[in-house]
């Protein structure tokens, strides 16, 4: 069975993937954000499932996440909003969220709903690789869902090899030892790290995220990896300019 994530990496060498928090700025914006992003030509979209305690996220995503919760967003509501989304949206869709809300929904149920809707994969920052490998990989495979893992500048070579071995879709390279948020440029240490990972010739494509906010950081990302993920900068833009102007944001990046 084909997964849209594989297709997009096969066809496009410079992926632009955009993250946003579902239910933000307004509860019912989710599908309209998706449509606008696709129309603007982004290659892949990560839908953030809001959580009260997003450990790995910086201030912008913390705020959009808690705003979404205040707007009344829940896991069930998100699934309802996404029903039928595949009639209009062709780009790969990934749900990114913390593990606790998925546990409460029931992991099996959660995966089943994702499959029915046409979600291609998940990113769960606080589900460690080994726990996934031992307990959940079979389930994800059953529903044809990919689970993407993060690596950081501190991740050891052995661990990167291990992650590469059990990964599908792509490996999410965290650009820096940091939580999410915007930076204007990459420094020398970061570029060295990008080069090091590139020279490892991993089997799985890589895509760089955290700290990408403009053309410069996007261009360096796609130079050393297969793509870039932008979150905080887009969320800020949405708050300031609104969903309809999405095209403007994407044009400002590439």
């Amino acid at each position: 069975m084909k997964n849209r994530i594989d297709e997009v990496f096969k066809n496009e060498k410079k992926i632009l993937s955009i993250y946003f928090s579902a239910g933000h700025p307004n509860l019912d914006d989710t599908v309209s954000v998706l449509k606008n992003l696709q129309k603007s030509g982004v290659d892949m979209i990560e839908i953030g499932l809001p959580f009260s305690d997003p450990l790995a996220d910086g201030p912008t995503i913390q705020k959009s996440s808690s705003k979404a919760l205040k707007n009344g967003m829940t896991t069930e509501k998100l699934f309802k909003q996404l029903e039928g989304v595949r009639e209009e949206i062709d780009v790969p869709l990934i749900i990114m969220g913390y593990f606790n809300p998925m546990m409460q929904y029931g992991i099996d149920n959660f995966c089943k709903r994702c499959k029915l809707i046409g979600i291609d994969g998940l990113i769960i920052p606080d589900l460690p690789v080994n726990v996934y490998h031992e307990n959940y990989m079979a389930l994800f495979n059953k529903y044809g869902l990919y689970n993407m893992f993060l690596i950081t500048p501190q991740t050891s070579v052995e661990r990167i090899r291990y992650i590469d071995k059990i990964s599908n879709g792509f490996i999410y390279m965290v650009s820096n030892t940091s939580i999410t948020g915007m930076k204007n440029t990459f420094d020398e240490t970061q570029i060295k790290y990008f080069k090091r990972i590139k020279s490892m010739n991993l089997n799985t494509p890589t895509i760089i995220g955290f700290g990408i906010s403009n053309t410069e950081t996007y261009n360096s990302s796609v130079k050393y990896s297969n793509g870039a993920i932008i979150g905080s900068a887009f969320i800020k833009f949405l708050e300031e300019k609104g969903v309809e102007k999405t095209n403007e944001f994407v044009k400002s990046i590439r």
Binding site: S52, L55, M103, V131, L150, Q154, T177, I179
Partner: protein, 393 residues
């Protein structure tokens, strides 16, 4: 049944390390080294020496004569309130600061709710001459001004947390985020038996000095080294973990864990995690926690800031599930009244957290020859303002 942690870092079903990849190297470093370092004889020597000369250990095991008479049992108080800085918290911060030094870390971060753990951390950082940043919710900073001042006097930077509900759970999130951003030079001193493995086990081991002393003190006082009951309050659960530790697998000893019911379990303003919580993940640990049906972590309430944590350490979740410990919840009012009772019957003003534990005497009946050990975990100085307002003193 074994109630200790297993090789994979779980207490039965609970525990583990549900952490983002960014924290993996730090947690792995700690996991691979904490037993090696803490079992080293030079470490033990330094730890024991500081507990003795700086903290003031061993703390007395005090026979409470008037309470014993009134409640018709042999009641002992383990006087952790006499520790330097006023509570058991410092046992753990002493251990972790020595560990941090041996790991080559020169910057310490910590979270704090009421400020007790923050003060205990700032204290040991001053002692060792190490930089210290304490994360504290903006709301708690307002509620706990004297402890904020203490931390500042001790040279720590108190960093206000404005995210989420601006209390302990958010301060913990913020400390974890700091650690993600500063993985190389920084050690995170968690204040309770919570967080990802190996923290719950490590903190329990540092606090286990409490039950180690109880064992030898009871032997001397009663001719046997175990009590019939151990009773302690539980927020995250570090003082209870310390009191239980050496008795976990000794089933002659019954354990009672006392949680804060706040304004009542069904009032929506409570911190009784065992009664209200469901299994889930908080701060990197699989445990019982208070949350919405949708898995969003909710804000607990208790009049005592040290008990209003929405989760509970994984060891306690396991003790609850296996019924090894009995969990009882006590409301604000009963706890406050026991603050007065203990003061007037034994001349000991307890912390409000600690006062919760004593309220068990109104609920459970004991036999005259039964030996009961309460963990008198902290003193009430920090709570004077609350007592003053509550009783119009």
């Amino acid at each position: 049944m074994n109630y200790n942690i297993n090789k994979k870092g779980y207490y039965g079903y609970f525990g583990g390390a549900f952490i983002p990849e960014m924290l993996y190297p730090n947690i792995a470093e700690l996991r691979e080294n904490y037993l090696k370092i803490t079992n080293d004889s030079a470490f033990k020597k330094e730890f024991d020496e500081l507990l003795k000369s700086y903290v003031g250990r061993p703390t007395p095991l005090f026979f409470a004569k008037r309470l014993s008479k009134k409640y018709n049992a042999k009641i002992y108080l383990k006087r952790e309130d006499l520790c330097h800085t006023g509570a058991h918290k410092v046992n753990n911060t002493i251990g972790q600061i020595i560990l941090a030094k041996r790991l080559g870390k020169n910057r310490i971060i910590a979270e704090t709710g009421a400020g007790q753990h923050g003060v205990a951390t700032a204290t040991v950082c001053a002692l060792m001459g190490v930089e210290c940043v304490v994360y504290m919710g903006e709301l708690d900073i307002k509620r706990q001004a004297p402890n904020v001042a203490r931390m500042k006097m001790l040279g720590a930077a108190v960093s206000p947390v404005t995210s989420g509900s601006k209390t302990l759970k958010d301060a913990t999130n913020e400390a974890i985020r700091d650690w993600i951003n500063n993985p190389l030079d920084t050690h995170y001193i968690i204040g309770s038996v919570v967080g990802p493995h190996p923290y719950p086990d490590m903190v329990a081991r540092f606090q286990s000095v409490i039950s180690e002393e109880v064992k030898s003190q009871l032997k001397e006082l009663e001719g046997r080294n175990y009590p019939d009951y151990l009773i302690a309050c539980v927020g995250g659960g570090s003082n209870a973990a310390g009191l239980y530790y050496h008795y976990l697998n000794d089933v002659r000893v019954k354990m009672i864990a006392v949680e804060a019911a706040g304004k009542g379990i069904k009032s929506g303003k409570s911190a009784a995690t065992s009664a209200l919580g469901k299994e889930g993940i908080i701060h990197g640990s699989k445990t019982l926690l208070m949350q919405t049906a949708d898995g969003q972590i909710t804000e607990p309430y208790s009049i005592s800031a040290g008990l209003d944590y929405p989760g509970v350490g994984p060891m306690h979740a396991h003790l609850f599930l296996t019924k090894r410990a009995e969990f009882i919840s006590i409301a604000d009012q009963e706890a406050m009244n026991w603050g007065l009772t203990l003061s007037q019957m034994e001349g000991i003003i307890p912390a409000i957290e600690t006062a919760h534990a004593f309220a068990v005497l109104d609920i459970k009946k004991f036999k005259p020859d039964e030996i009961i050990v309460f963990n008198c975990s902290g003193r009430g100085d920090k709570d004077l303002e609350t007592f003053i307002n509550y009783f119009q003193l």
